[in-house]
């Protein structure tokens, strides 16, 4: 049985852990708020972009651009995996990595070469263990990132695609649904789909009306489309980064909340054990004294 002193030390140790988890919970909630604001600020841009692209491809004979072309026999497949750089956020990173690895396995079974681009240290670690090829850049991606970082990643996969080194590009990220819900999501980036062909039913009714507006295009639709498509891809990647970062903080918040509650429970149990031990030792001492006095009689 643990001695009284041991139990006491354990209680204070757990108490200190609890302080840390509580602090981390608060830090994460502050960071989550920041990340959510960033998503909010990005929304007008993303929405406008989508609208613009829809207008444009409605006016043009889409499908001409090389980024839209579906390769008949895809041989290589690139998966961009977005995870966090740090742990202590529950099953967040492992569920993302699992999703990506499942997709990779599926593609490999179809006879394609799979290549990973990992944003975030944790994802890189899981991919390294799994033995797939990966790009060592962008590892510390999610600690602080800007739109420019998304452009860099976008630029490199577009180059790969145009040089026919990559035939398909997927993005695996954590879609931020709400503070308590985030879903590992796979998004096909390349070959690109224009909003109509991807969105299908949503807003299908209003598009003919918008397309009816006769736009003056400068220089011309094809050139504009060529300009806008890579930027749309960058915007999608940025969106993925923003969502994942918000989800990461939400996941960490939940994990830390759980940990704090567990600490409370352990402290409760340990205190109970401590009190029991204390009483037992008092009783033992009393028995010693009483039996000693009895012997003297």
């Amino acid at each position: 049985m643990a001695s009284l002193k041991d139990v006491k030390m354990k209680i204070s140790g757990v108490g200190k852990t609890k302080q840390i988890t509580k602090a981390m919970h608060m830090v994460s909630s502050a960071k989550l708020r920041g990340a959510q604001q960033r998503i909010e600020r990005f929304r007008p841009y993303a929405d406008k972009f989508q609208e613009l692209l829809a207008n444009l491809s409605a006016g043009a004979g889409a499908g001409e651009h090389p980024l839209l072309a579906v390769r008949p026999e895809p041989k290589t497949c690139c998966i961009i995996l977005v995870t966090s750089d740090r742990g202590l956020c529950g099953g967040f990173n492992s569920s993302l990595a699992q999703k990506a690895l499942k997709l990779a396995g599926q593609k490999r079974d179809e006879g394609r070469k799979v290549y990973f681009v990992c944003i975030g240290r944790k994802g890189r670690d899981s991919i390294r263990i799994s033995g797939f090829d990966f790009n060592p850049d962008f590892v510390r991606g999610l600690t602080s990132f800007t739109f420019q970082a998304a452009c860099q990643i976008g630029g490199s996969v577009i180059d790969g695609f145009l040089e026919e080194k990559l035939d398909e590009v997927y993005l695996v990220y954590a879609k931020f649904v709400s503070t308590v819900r985030h879903e590992p999501t796979t998004l096909g980036l390349l070959p690109m789909k224009t909003p109509e062909s991807a969105g299908g039913a949503t807003g299908g009714g209003e598009k003919p009306g918008q397309a009816g507006l006769d736009y003056l295009y400068e220089p011309d639709v094809e050139t504009l489309l060529a300009e806008i498509l890579p930027k749309y891809l960058n915007a999608q990647i940025y969106r993925g980064l923003l969502d994942t970062s918000a989800s990461e903080h939400a996941a960490r918040m939940a994990a830390m909340d759980n940990a704090t509650r567990n600490c409370d429970e352990i402290i409760k149990n340990l205190t109970l054990l401590y009190n029991k031990n204390r009483q037992a030792s008092i009783t033992r001492e009393l028995i010693d004294i009483v039996s000693g006095a009895d012997a003297l009689k």
């Binding site: 600020r41 841009y45 739109f147 736009y215 003056l216 400068e218 504009l224 300009e227 806008i228």
Partner: protein, 135 residues
């Protein structure tokens, strides 16, 4: 000229500007253009360069680092990867960037990205131009 234009400048990180203006002028890939109320619907890619607008009779400027412009009805939407209002431009930083880029281009080193330096120079010069219009 009763009617006004609604000018929105949007970047990935922020809504830079949203206000009623009388005139917008900017640099498209094909050359400078101006928009007054009643312009036909218009869509174009923007080059790196200055943007001017007139609000309440006063001429103002901003820097736009590439993107798109959409004019429809009385709305002008600028989608830019980078944009700054003239009053928010860091004059000293732009000057420094200009000098650095010039130095890089004049004395090329191994492993230097000449295109990137060129772009940086163009951006820095347009920022400075936007500044000087105001002050």
């Amino acid at each position: 000229m009763e009617k006004n234009l609604q000018l929105d400048i949007v970047t990935p990180d922020n809504l830079i500007l949203s206000r009623q203006v009388e005139y917008v002028g900017a640099r498209a890939v094909g050359g400078d253009f101006g928009v007054l109320p009643g312009h036909v619907p218009f869509l174009s890619a923007l080059a790196v360069g200055p943007l001017h607008y007139t609000a309440d009779g006063r001429r103002k400027a901003a820097f736009v680092g590439g993107g798109f412009v959409e004019v429809s009805g009385d709305k002008v939407i600028i989608l830019a990867e980078r944009a700054e209002l003239a009053e928010n431009i860091d004059h000293a930083r732009a000057l420094e960037a200009k000098n650095r880029a010039e130095k890089r281009l004049l004395h090329p080193e191994a492993g230097m990205d000449a295109d990137r330096a060129q772009m940086a120079l163009i951006r820095a010069i347009s920022r400075l131009r936007v500044c000087n219009i105001i002050s």
